[in-house]
Subunit: 105 residues, 2 copies
């Protein structure tokens, strides 16, 4: 398959990805904050505890982003942090700018 | 065994019990807040995810307190809530009074 095209397609379809756990209050808080931005396309939520490969995903994310915890918010292929980071940026009104700079509406 | 004496002993030894999970940020926050009170005796922390009977503990707590989530903070045999409750009472300065009324120093 045409991998550059596939990556480009993923980036267009899911520029913002949240790796989350369904039972986790911190994950819920990050998701709730992001939902307020009414982004287009909206964030893609991956509930890691609902997958059989959850441990593998955690290991890969840790290797790629240095973050071994959830939530892990990925914007255009880079981790922008966890719940505390999202909360802080939301409170400081920096999140809006971050999304605009990344081409999200 | 003398059950009334055993319960009395538990109540004296562990008037405050926190049912927690080691990996959980909400559990951590409740524990951190409680640690600030320097209670005597200090809170007994039960890390439910580290036990083989974690699911059983969760079921029993749900039946007894109506709360199926963690953290679950038990004062003299009654649940005083989870992380949000502890945070709110701490912020409102109501937690100190609650502990005094329960005979904790
Ligand atoms: N400060 C981090 C805390 C993240 C954290 O500790 N997450 C916990 C759950 S609340 C975690 O991922 N623990 C390990 C796991 O669940 O695999 C944040 O704001 O996201
Ligand atoms: N509002 C509650 C939220 C508690 C909650 O949702 N706890 C989650 C972990 S953060 C939980 O226990 N999920 C089910 C489980 O882990 O068994 C509180 O402040 O304590
Ligand atoms: S598991 Fe409790 S806050 Fe994440």
């Amino acid at each position: 398959p045409d991998w550059p095209a596939r990556v480009k397609h993923l980036d267009a379809e899911a520029p913002l990805i949240v790796f989350s756990k369904t039972y986790c209050s911190y994950s819920r808080r990050a998701k709730d904050i992001l939902a307020q931005y009414e982004l287009v396309p909206k964030a893609k939520i991956i509930e890691v505890d609902l997958r059989d490969d959850g441990d593998f995903i955690k290991a890969v994310l840790t290797r790629l982003t240095g973050r071994s915890t959830f939530p892990n918010v990925i914007l255009r292929g880079e981790s922008i942090g966890g719940a505390d980071d999202i909360m802080a940026m939301h409170t400081d009104d920096r999140l809006r700018q971050l999304f605009e700079d990344a081409g999200l509406k």
